[in-house]
């Protein structure tokens, strides 16, 4: 198994590490929730030990407060490693990586889809959250649905939670089914098109401390880097691409060792 995959599994096991919830129920309530993980992670998930940064961002917007902590958190991580957390730590990214392995025909995502995530961030997680006082991205988030919504309904023995299922629950299910279906055919469809956390980190990809570098003299334009890339990034032409999650799969795949990385 690749190192990246091992790290992804370990990160998911730690992020969703409140194992007593499996037999005790409820969600984790404690000081670890003061900390956010740098990836999409529903804090309503019974297994979740940490807070979701985009959920926290919306909460501060709901209260009409400046989110100094969350802005600093996103900024510090983005400045150091850009979008690397998406590639190595995100459980929902891992989920999409795995379902893309299903043997079927594959499709390419139109390039303009990559810009939808900025709309999701600014309009849904920003403006609407500020105006409505409700965390509307959470209400539509497919990661939250798979981590928290479905487990809570399935584990409900009394029927109290099942009685609360309404139209929004079914809309979330429809969103999840659409995302899963497209993720079978398109590499990391949600991360590339809709993830607001990816949108924030992608801004830092151009100038973060950690950078990808291409040796143009060694590159033979074989495109094997783009073929192996989980985000289908043409790294040979744009090493600072907004969708590069610095997973380093391309570095290993390059036959001429033209791709390098590091603090540059």
């Amino acid at each position: 198994m690749k190192l990246k995959r091992i790290v992804q599994f370990i990160a998911s096991a730690i992020t969703l590490g409140n194992y007593p919830a499996i037999w005790q129920g409820g969600i984790y309530q404690g000081p670890l929730k003061q900390g956010c993980v740098p990836i999409l992670n529903c804090w309503g998930c019974p297994l979740s030990l940490f807070s979701c940064p985009i959920g926290a961002l919306q909460h501060f917007f709901n209260l009409h407060l400046i989110p100094s902590y969350i802005a600093g958190f996103f900024g510090a991580i983005g400045t150091v490693v850009g979008r690397m957390a998406c590639g190595w730590l995100c459980p929902f990214g891992l989920f999409q990586d795995l379902i893309y392995k299903l043997k079927t025909f594959k499709m390419r995502m139109p390039k303009f889809f990559s810009y939808i995530k900025y709309g999701v961030l600014i309009v849904i997680a920003g403006i609407i959250a500020w105006i409505s006082g409700e965390p509307w991205f959470c209400k539509l988030c497919p990661a939250g649905y798979i981590e928290a919504g479905i487990p809570l309904v399935l584990a409900d023995k009394t029927g109290d939670i099942k009685a609360l299922v309404g139209w929004l629950f079914w809309i979330k299910m429809a969103i999840l089914i659409i995302i899963i279906n497209f993720s079978i055919f398109i590499k990391r469809f949600f991360c590339r098109a809709f993830c607001p956390i990816g949108a924030i980190y992608s801004i830092f990809n151009k100038f973060s401390m950690f950078q990808m570098k291409i040796d143009k003299e060694k590159c033979i334009n074989c495109d094997s880097c783009q073929a192996v890339c989980p985000m289908h990034v043409p790294i040979q032409n744009s090493p600072h691409n907004i969708d590069c999650i610095r997973c380093l799969d391309c570095v290993k795949k390059c036959p001429t060792k033209a791709i390098s990385y590091g603090a540059k």
């Binding site: 900390g35 309503g44 988030c141 928290a148 609360l164």
Partner: protein, 46 residues
């Protein structure tokens, strides 16, 4: 060199943001809201 200076300045600003946020109670607020099961966020309450 210019990029490294920019990175250091940005890091100082962002870390200061985290520290300031902690001082004005952002950590506690995050813990409080993260410890409540938001049923409506899961589509379980309209």
């Amino acid at each position: 060199m210019k990029r490294m200076i920019l990175i250091v300045i940005l890091l100082v600003i962002f870390i200061a943001g985290i520290i300031y946020g902690g001082k004005v109670g952002d950590f506690t607020e995050t813990e409080t809201v993260g410890s409540v099961m938001c049923l409506s966020c899961m589509g379980l309450q309209q």
